[in-house]
Amino acid sequence: MEFLEPLNLLYCLIGVVIGMLIGVLPGLGPAATIAILLPVTYGVEPVSAIILLAGIFYGAQYGGTITSVLLKLPGEASSVVTVFDGHALARQGKAGTALGIAAIGSFIGGTVSIVGLTLLAPVVAAVALDFGPPEYAALALFGVLLVATVGNGGRTKAVIAAGLGLLLATVGRDTFTGASRFTFDTLNLADGIDFVPIAMGLFGLGEILYNLEQRHRTAAPPAAVANVWPSRADLRKSGGAIGRGSVIGFALGVLPGGGATLSSLVAYAVEKRRAKHPGRFGQGAVEGVAAPETANNAAATSSFIPLLTLGIPANATMALLFGALLIHGIPPGPQLITDHPDLFWGVVNSMYVGNVLLLIMSIPMVGLFVKILRVRPAVLAPITVLITLIGVYTVANQVFDIFLVVAFGVLGYLMKKFGFEPGPLVLAFVLGSLLETAVRQSLLLFDGNPAGFLTRPISGTVLAVLLLVLLLPAFGKLRRRKP
């Protein structure tokens, strides 16, 4: 285990600053930013690239808080519940307290989660080393279905989006038989659709096109920030919330489809239920800020565990990092920790450092970040579009990829307009090729008998749990129907 190199320290700093910036800006989320910056990271070392992209992801969790508290505009979905009590505190002149508690909670949640990652990841990876194709097939199926069912937004729409992702994953030459599938006889599609134009189109361009139609909300003048250090009474009140938020965030972040948004909602609900006077929530309760902000950071960190140990991305952002690892020639999976220890420990170390950097930066630089909001979207949007178009070209020096990114941008725009999330599509696309290869290898192993999936202990268990998760809501409905 080596210490973080100065250059990687710089990438970590750049990552968390970009993360905070885009966290502050409503509209452009971490997934979009990581998608747009994917090509830019080709030129750098894989460790540095992942450190940078990871920093953007957890940095955005800090940034999203600032606008929630000061402007009542959540920069990120995972900071939506922070608005209730955070903005209420700001109106009482206690914006500083809210931001201070959020920063401290985020730091503790993030750090607890990294310690969990440090301890747990090598164990999980060691167990997963024995996994064969059937286990991977079961896990990939689990990932696709869970994201489609537990994720935010309508369930049917998420399943449709995931189905589309699976279909797109089949495009290209069949790796087992060499037959061309959906290639329309063009060489451009012979190797399948590249992950980068899909991600950049759906998340990056799609989001910008969608925002074009939205009327730009006029932000209220930001509340003044004074006295960021929370009082001892506030700290005592939020201590429990921070502790519980860390655990909730860590646990939910590991689950596919869980992640930052869900954990912030759950952590807030738990605090409200435990409170002696639940009426205080929404009126400026510090616990109402501490719990979700702690949880979303803990979840952002722990969602790295399935990616780094099993090679299964837990959410859309992890799917992008999955793509980034592949681009750098590092297959994500249980071998990652043993084959590329420098990458694994480098990224883990950078997270410890990144959280300290964010804690230090988030308080004194609040004013600066609020100023970013004055940058007009009409100036920012075309520059982002240009980065997308030129960035996607530089991946393979192919004009065809620009057409692809525009096509997927339009698809992303249409999906958002009709209430579909692009996340399940991208995740299913990534897991789709994994799933297909694993299933077909397994069937070769089993001499074509699909019962083999059920008789292997681990794949059988995973499939049984999967069935249970799928059937649970149905049971719930049945019970409700009976008086």
């Binding site: 096109l209 074009l212 949007a381 520059i383 240009l386 057409f403």
Partner: protein, 70 residues
Amino acid sequence: MAGVVVGLVGFAVLLPLVGFEIPSVVLLLAWMRVLGKEAWGLSVVVSVGTVAAFYGVFVVLLEIPLPRLI
């Protein structure tokens, strides 16, 4: 919307023919003027400045073989 998509496709068609500089400046200018209704001065400064910055980063610094005029 349709106009934006036509513009983006036009960008992709023109890029290999005339290099990235002119289509980029035109894309930025048109977006800021037509969609953003920004002032001419700001639009020109931002467009040309951004493309110059791209030239610096992609061509000079990263030495990526972008099709270009200069």
